[in-house]
Each structure stands twice: as C-alpha cells, then as structure tokens.
C-alpha cells in the first residue's frame, strides 16, 4: 500500500520539473527510451511516481542516473509534458535525498540560498586578503593545501556517507542477498563507466549524440586530469615542462568544452539544452571559470606577471573554493559520482541470482 501525496508535485516543480502534470500516460516516452525494459517502464513510471507523490519509490530508483538526457522522450511526447525534464528534476531530488546534511536540499530549492553561499565565500576571501594575513607566496601555497584538504574532507565527510545512503536506498532496501564477491567483481564497472561514460553511447546512434558523448568524455577526463595535475603534481609550483604543458592542455580542454556547452545551451539547439535549472548553469559556468582561470594563472606565472596581477590568483581561488565547497559536495558535481555508482549498483542488482549467493 502506497500513500498518495498530492503536494509532492509542488516539490518537483521547485526542482525544475514543470510540465509533467500534462502527462496522460500514453507511454510514448517509454517506447522511445533505450533504458526501458519489459518490467521497467522508464521514464513513464517516474512521472507517475512524481504525480502520485510516491517518494520512497523515487528514492529507490537508479535509472535516473543511467539517463543522459538525449531528449527523445521529450521530443516525442504528445502532450509536451517534457519527460526528460522530470528525469532531471528527479535527479536533483535524489541528490537532495542522498545528502545527509540536507544542505543540497536548501541549495537546490532556493536560488537565494545559492547566491548567499557563494557570496559568503567570496567575502571570506576578500576579507582574508584585505586583513593581510598571508603573503602572496603563502596564498598560493595554502591554496594548494586547501585543495588537498578540501578534496579529502568533502569526500570523507559528505560524499562517502551520501554514497552509502544511496546504496541503502537503491540496493539494500531491495533486500537482495549480499555477496561481497559480486561487489568486488563489479568494481570494474564503476571505473570503466567513470572514465569512459560509455553508457551515453547506448542512448542513440546519431552523430549528434556521439559528438556530445565525446565532448562530455573530454570534459570528464580533462577535469580529473587537471585535478590530479594541480593537487598531486602541484602544477602552479612545478618546474617540469611536461607537467606544465599537460596542465595547459587539461585546463584548455575544460574551458573549450564548457564554452561549447554554454553556447549550445544559450542557443537551445537540442532538447538537452532547452530546460535548465539554475544549478545546471552554476555548474557549467564555474567549471568554465575554473578552466580559464587556472590556465590564466599558470600563463601569468610563466610570463612572470602574477606578482603584479595577484587579483587573478584570488579570482581563481574564489572560483575554486566555491566549486569545492558548494558545487562539489552539494551541487550538480555529484551527478558524476552518483552516475558512476549507479552503474556499479545496477550491475550488482542485475548480477545473476546464482552469482549473488
């Protein structure tokens, strides 16, 4: 027995799912979606859950993470109910439900909260700079430390517990038999998907989709590599030409691809770029700013201009801090993590019955 909650739809509307009420249950979205299976009427059932307010069923859904928003369902919807958009809204809802701190819930539902959080961090940095507690060298030095600490603590304190919660909602609650061997064996799925994003290719065969997948993959690789280069190879302080060049390439990859994404979103050329939540804009813009500012900072170092133009580093640091403390733990960044884990969990759930014993 599931209890109907008619007020849940309002919640979904705040998270960006605006048109799904128009659905008249024809099932065309499911017919067009490659993720739909015989017993899994995706995405239609998510729309039903949202309309009826069946929160628990939504929470235990893995499929929204497997969807790359190709937009076929929204294109073919006879009622313009935009099913793709509701999948995106459900993803935001999932991010807020996995988050034990509840901070993402606040940020996803209120643009004001987002702006306040960003402003506070900006003011903090300006404050610290004007208070003159660090020398310029120390700023760069501690900036690097901040990055390392932030990554570690955000992961341990926020993301890891959230992934465990995700596992609890999507796997543990389904009461499948637990077998540690399967968890180890399927780890390969986690990493393959994380570094290939190849699921996106299964969505459709069009040239447009392949281009998008390639760009998306470049972005993922570029981002992870830049992270590695700056954090572990200390790009801003290194003397190795190889590392310096690699850093340039990776940061350029980020801002070129994000720039292209932004342009597409501005022009609203594809279904994927038509309906966007403000959290999507923050994500893409900050990623772009991060790539550009990191590139510029290293360039200024190489040209010996940074000392006289230290504002640039502060700008980069602000972007970095906002990124690492808001967007990564509580914003859209998490979709990267949850999607890879969703692949992992669904591989575990799909493992043959005998393998699970």
């Amino acid at each position: 027995m599931s209890k109907v909650n008619p007020y849940f739809a309002k919640e979904m509307k705040k998270l960006g799912g605006t048109e799904f009420n128009a659905c008249f249950n024809c099932g065309t979205c499911t017919a067009t979606c490659t993720l739909a299976e015989k017993d899994n009427a995706f995405p239609r059932k998510l729309i039903r859950y949202s309309i009826l307010g069946l929160e628990d069923d939504i929470k235990s859904s893995i499929e929204p993470w497997l969807c790359y928003y190709c937009g076929d369902c929204s294109d073919s919807c006879p009622r313009q109910a935009d099913p793709g958009n509701i999948v995106m809204a459900v993803r935001r809802f999932l991010i807020t439900s996995y988050d034990w701190t509840r901070i993402s819930g606040l940020l996803f539902r209120s643009l004001a909260a987002y702006i306040v959080a960003f402003s506070l961090l900006l003011l903090g940095i300006i404050g610290a700079y004007t208070a003159d507690i660090f020398t310029k060298e120390e700023w760069v030095h501690y900036g690097h430390y901040f990055e390392m600490i932030a990554i570690g603590s955000v992961f341990l304190v926020i993301l890891l517990p959230n992934i465990i919660r995700m596992w609890y909602f999507t796997v543990a609650r389904k009461k499948v038999k637990f077998n540690i061997k399967v968890y180890f064996r399927e780890l390969k799925t986690l990493f393959i998907h994380m570094f290939s994003q190849k699921r996106a290719l299964e969505c459709d065969d069009s040239k447009e989709n392949r281009t998008w997948w390639l760009e998306h993959l470049l972005l993922v690789i570029g981002y992870l590599s830049l992270l590695f280069t700056t954090v572990f190879l200390n790009w801003f302080a290194t003397g190795s030409i190889f590392i310096i060049v690699m850093g340039y390439i990776f940061s350029a990859m980020i801002f070129v691809v994000t720039f292209d994404f932004m342009m597409k979103k501005f022009r609203k050329k594809t279904q994927r770029s038509t309906t966007l939540h403000y959290s999507d804009w923050f994500f893409i813009i900050w990623l772009f700013l991060m790539g550009v500012s990191a590139f510029a900072v290293r360039l200024f170092i190489d040209l010996d201009l940074l000392q006289n133009n230290f504002w640039l580093y502060l700008f980069h640091l602000t972007v970095l801090v906002q990124w690492a403390l808001i967007i990564v733990p509580f914003g859209k960044w998490t979709h990267f993590l949850y999607r890879s884990f969703a692949m992992y969990f669904s591989a575990i759930l799909e493992a043959p019955e005998n393998a699970r014993k």
Binding site: V4, P6, N21, F24, L52, L54
Partner: protein, 667 residues
C-alpha cells in the same frame, strides 16, 4: 388476386465491371429472353444512369410493360430510384422488383465466376417469378392535423416547441414537473459557453411564453393515448398547483398530428452503501456536489469541514459489465472535469483526484482534460473488477484503489469528499410512456429509434418521434440536435396536411378468417381489431397504424393473413426461381471459350516459342504475327508485351502507316 404479369421488362446491370467481371450478364440477358412472361431482357452498362432510366421509361410505355425487374446492386441503394422510374412511366411502383446480384452475388463470389453466374441466374429467375405475382398497391393517404404534442419541457422540448411554433404549428408542450427546464436548470455553468444553466432556461421560457401558438401545461401527466399518425388523441391529467388554492385536477384531451417525446433522463441514484453512499457523510453524487458548489460561494464547506481534497469516482452505475446499465453516459467525463476546473478557479486551494476507468472527453471537450491535468489534477485508473474501496477512519475518509497506470499498485489516498460520478438512466416512467405510445424500448429502458444512423429520431410508430436523452445518453448539444432533427422531420411530415404511407401492411382474407384473436394478441401496435363482416366475427387491419412487420401472418391458424409484397405466392415463387434447373447451354459454351483462352495464356512457353519462330530473325507487327499463327490479336499482343518486358523481343521501328510497331528477337 391480380392477373399474373405477362409483359415483364428485365434489365441486368454490368455496373461498370463490378458485376460483369464475374457474372456473364450478356449471356444471362440472352438466356432470360426465353423465360416465361419476359418481354424485354437487356444487359446494360449502368442501369442507374439517366440514359438507361429514359430507355426504361420508353420501353414501359412503348411495349406496355406490366412489371419490371432490375438485377443490379442492393435494393438499399436503388430500390427507390427504379420505383420512381416505374412511377414516371405510369407503372405502379409495387410492380417493380430489384434483384441484388452485386453485394450478394458478384462480389462475395468473385472467387468463383462460373458459380456466381449460375447463382445470378437463380436470383434473377426468382425476381422475375416474384414480380409476376406482384400486385399494384396504392399508398395509404391520411389527413393530418397541424398540431404537435411535445412531451417534456426540458431544453430539448422547449427548443423544439419554439421552432415548431415558428413554423406555424399549434404546439402543446406538456411537462410533468411544476417548473420547466429539467436538468439543465440545475447547472451553474455549462461547458463550452460558460453560461448559467438557469439563465438559458429562463431565456427559453420567455420565448415559449411569447408564442401564442404554444400552450404549456405543467404538473401534467399523460393518461390514455389513442389514434394514429395524423390524429393522435392524448388525455392529459393536470394536477392542481400547490401554491394556488382552489385549483382542481382536470383532464384534457389533446389532438395532435404528431408527437415528439423528449422526456430526458434520470441521474443514476446509487444504491445504499454503493461506494459508501448514504452510509458515509463524505460521499455524495455529482449532481449533489454541483448543488454544493452553487450554495458555497466563498469556501467549500461540507458538514462544517473545509474541503481541500476531492476524489471523483467515475462510471458509477454505468458501463456495468454485469449490471443492467451497460452503456456509457458519455457526458459525465466532461461534466466532472469541467466541475474540477470550476472548483479550482472558485476555491483555489483544492486538489482533485479522478478515479476513472477511461476518459471520454470526446470532440472539442478534449481541451478540458488537458487543462485539468495541467492544473495538477491527479488521474488514477481503476478496473471494474477492482473498484475503489472507501473507508471511514474517524474523521478521515480513505480510499484504496489499484492503479492500472502504475504497475497495478495499491494506492491509498485521503479525501475530504468523495464524489460519485453518476451517469444517466432512462426515466423511471419510460416504460409507462413506452406502453402508452407503443415506442419500443431497449433493455436499458431508453427509447429505440428505427435505425441509429439512418433513421435516428423516428420510431416505428408513425408520427411519433423521439429527441434528446430519452433515447440514450447525450450531452446538451446532442440532445438539442436530435430534438431539432425530429422537429424538421415533423415539419416534413405534417407540412402538406396529408401524408402517404407505404402500402406494405398486413391484409386479412376475411373469407378465411374465423377470429381466434391470435393476431391481435401478437401485434404490438393494436392494429388488428375484431369486426363483423357478413355476420361473422373477423379481423380487420388498421391501415394507418400497421407497421408492416408481418408478425401476425405466421400465427394465423387459417393462413388468412399475408403481408403485402410478401405473399405466399411471391415468396414461394422466389424459392422456385432459385432452384429452377437451367440448361447452361450458351452460358456454358461462352464460359468454356473464356476458359480455353485463359489456359492458352497460361501456357506461355509454347506460345513464346511460336512467336519467336514466326519472327525467325526478321521483324513483324502484331497483326502479321497473329495472322501467321492463326491466333487472336489480343492474345498475341499480351504475349509480345510480356516477352518485351522480359527482354525476349524488342521493338524495331514502326510500319509505313506508323500504325504498328515491328518486333524482332533481341540479340
């Protein structure tokens, strides 16, 4: 009995090729010339064409034909056409018989042309034999009163009365309630115009009053009905009005040429306990809910509780697979969704659940469905097998339902009010009215028209018409449409002051009749009555009321009754005609020739060899080849064309007259 017809004209139709492609009409035409009584027998490309109609009229006049038969398509298409031809030529239309050799011969037997031809011969022989026994019948002419009785002063009855009055008829409008307007007056807002129901009715009422030739009786019920088309006589009992003291009950006898029955419907009344109706205070019907909306301007309050969640349960008392009401009331989906949009606009903070089986907001009403979903109404689909369960838990009303849209999930929802969407039922007194006017009613107790598509407002009782929802569930638009259609039919009927009735009625051979009363017993129209002729009690047919069904004929122990145009001799001669052995003779020969040709066509390898040998390296035209091979040109053409397509031969220029192509063997 009339003289057997001896000068029969027979016309057999090719119907382009629809008939002649499968039935050898030419040969049948020749064969039938030898038939007894047949003076003319022709095959015609299109018998219905104007030119042939003219030829037929000429034949009838010049050859003094006494009967005609056309063997063509179904009588449903052209019986009337050729009856008119007969009439124009001065022949009684009853001396015409149409034989159906298309829908019931050439088409269904297109797989067996030879058998189809033989069957056509049988059918045509039957038609010729039948027409030989045909009698000249005269239409029955009845004088009619230009007065119309309209039963029921709802929107349909009032609209029709106004139109009839405008056309100059005297109208008696009879209403059993003390006020006019029926169910439309109960509606606060009508889709799509958004008008107030009461206002519509008030406007109509003002119009009714403005016509001096409409007499409105309220509080009036039908008593005895007698008479027939052109002159019905109806006793109407008028009850005294409560508010006027001293009024006495009186009974008037009204005379009318035609009757329009527009008695409308009753809303289905749920049984005690059906979905908690009558046992739970939070369960009401849609009409009751509409009244609640009318009476609650600011906030929607029921039993001193503000209503925020309303749950509609659809198809209550309708579309019952096991129950009596199998039909869909068709207006209720629209009505309900319209109501749910109305309450959202009126009370803002209110949510509607729609527990439905199928949504049928057909036609222009579909926009409502979309609007309602977009405003956030929740639709849940259940199956008749698993109806929603309603439970009262303290102050809460809980509904449990299996949602067929969500993996048949069991859902539980809470509602402040449960509204049962009740459909239409026939009026409680429809059986009574049916008995008085003899209008056939269905199992659902709605009145039956003659044919739902072809005669949608006529009943088998001549002069009695039905309009509006007494005929079956209809929305307001459809109700008014049908009653106005009936109005037009009444005008066509009564317009000239006289009417012609078809002569197909039962006839009693009073010499043979011994009056046992069985015929009167089976007649639904009371058309057979006892009379005295030559000092004997015998049966008499009322020519104006007889419907011409013939039910009385087989029950007569003396075989004293027959139905005009369906007499024993006519039917039995048809049977003889079907079974008459015929000499295939000419038909057989012609068929055999065709068959040989077909066989030759199939033996193309031999034919190809022959053609190739005549060409023998040179070039020849088709006529030359045909001559050399001693074959038909058509056959040679066919093969040469085929050989050309397969590349065995090629065209090789034209002859001197540029008339034929030369062909030569392709290298």
């Amino acid at each position: 009995m009339e003289k057997k017809k001896q000068r029969i004209g027979l016309y057999i139709c090719h119907c382009g090729g629809n008939i002649s492609d499968y039935v050898n009409v030419e040969e049948i035409g020749k064969l039938m010339q030898k038939e007894d009584g047949v003076l003319i027998s022709k095959d015609v490309m299109f018998t219905c064409a104007d030119s042939n109609q003219k030829d037929m009229i000429q034949d009838i006049r010049e050859k003094n034909l006494d009967a005609i038969v056309v063997a063509s398509c179904s009588p449903k298409l052209h019986l009337h056409t050729f009856q008119e031809v007969a009439k124009r030529a001065g022949l009684n239309p009853s001396n015409y018989v149409q034989v159906n050799i298309r829908e019931q011969c050439s088409w269904p037997h297109s797989d067996k042309p030879k058998d189809a031809t033989m069957k056509a011969v049988g059918l045509i022989q039957a038609g010729v034999k039948r027409v030989a026994y045909s009698e000249s019948l005269e239409n029955i002419e009845v004088e009619v009163k230009s007065t119309v009785l309209v039963v029921g002063a709802g929107i349909s009855g009032m609209r029709s009365s106004i139109e009839l009055a405008r056309l100059g008829y005297e109208v008696y409008l009879v209403e059993k309630e003390s006020v006019v307007g029926g169910h439309v007056a109960e509606l606060e807002q009508v889709f799509m115009s958004g008008q107030n129901g009461k206002k519509i009715i008030n406007d109509l009422y003002e119009q009714v009053k403005s016509y001096s030739n409409i007499t409105l009786f309220t509080n009036a019920v039908m008593e005895n009905v007698s008479g027939s088309i052109g002159n019905f006589s109806v006793d109407v009992r008028i009850k005294p009005r409560e508010e006027i003291s001293g009024q006495k009950e009186e009974t008037l006898t009204l005379h009318a040429g035609a009757v329009l029955v527009a008695t409308g419907f009753d809303p289905y009344q749920p049984k005690e306990g059906e979905y908690g109706y009558g046992t739970m205070p939070s369960v009401v019907t849609l009409p009751e809910f509409n009244e609640m909306i009318r009476n609650n301007p600011g906030k929607l309050v029921h039993n001193s509780r503000q209503i925020r969640k309303v749950s509609f349960i659809y198809c209550v008392g309708n579309r019952q697979n096991k129950g009596e009401n199998k039909y869909c009331s068709r207006h209720c989906c629209t009505s309900t969704i319209h109501t749910s949009i109305q309450i959202r606009e009126k009370y803002k903070d209110i949510t509607s659940f729609h527990l439905y089986r199928d949504i049928r907001t057909y036609g222009k009403q579909e926009v409502l469905f979309e609007k309602s979903s977009r405003q956030g109404d929740i639709y849940i689909r259940f199956d008749e097998k698993e109806p929603p369960q309603i439970e009262q838990q303290g102050k809460k009303t809980l509904i449990r339902v299996t949602d067929y849209l969500t993996e048949k999930r069991e859902l539980e929802l809470e509602a402040d009010l449960v509204v049962l969407v009740t459909g239409m039922e026939a009026r409680k007194d429809s059986t009574d009215i049916s008995a008085k006017f003899k209008i056939p009613i269905g199992n659902d107790k709605f009145f039956n028209e003659i044919h739902p598509k072809l005669k949608p407002v006529e009943t088998v009782i001549k002069g009695v018409f039905i309009g509006g929802s007494c005929q079956g569930p209809k929305n307001i638009t459809e109700s008014v449409q049908s009653s106005l259609a009936a109005t037009a039919k009444i005008n066509a009927l009564l317009g000239s002051g006289k009417i012609q009735l078809a002569p197909i009625i039962a006839r009693v051979n009073q010499d043979a009749c011994t009056w046992c009363g069985k015929c009167a017993e089976v007649c639904d129209y009371d058309s057979l009555v006892k009379t005295t002729a030559a000092n004997r009690e015998v049966a008499l047919v009322n020519r104006a009321t007889c419907a011409g069904c013939g039910i009385c004929a087989p029950v007569c122990p003396e075989n004293a009754i027959d139905l005009a145009q369906y007499t024993d001799s006519e039917i039995e001669s048809m049977i003889d005609g079907f079974m008459m052995e015929i000499d295939p003779g000419e038909i057989g020969k012609a068929e055999a020739a065709v068959e040989k040709e077909v066989l030759q066509m199939r033996e193309y390898p031999q034919m190809w060899k022959n053609i190739l040998s005549t060409l023998n390296g040179g070039k020849k035209t088709i006529p030359e080849m045909a001559e050399e091979l001693n074959e038909k040109k058509e056959l040679v053409t066919y093969h040469v064309m085929t050989m050309n397509r397969y590349g065995a031969v090629v065209p090789a220029g034209m002859d001197e007259d540029e008339e034929y192509y030369y062909y030569s063997i392709k290298n």
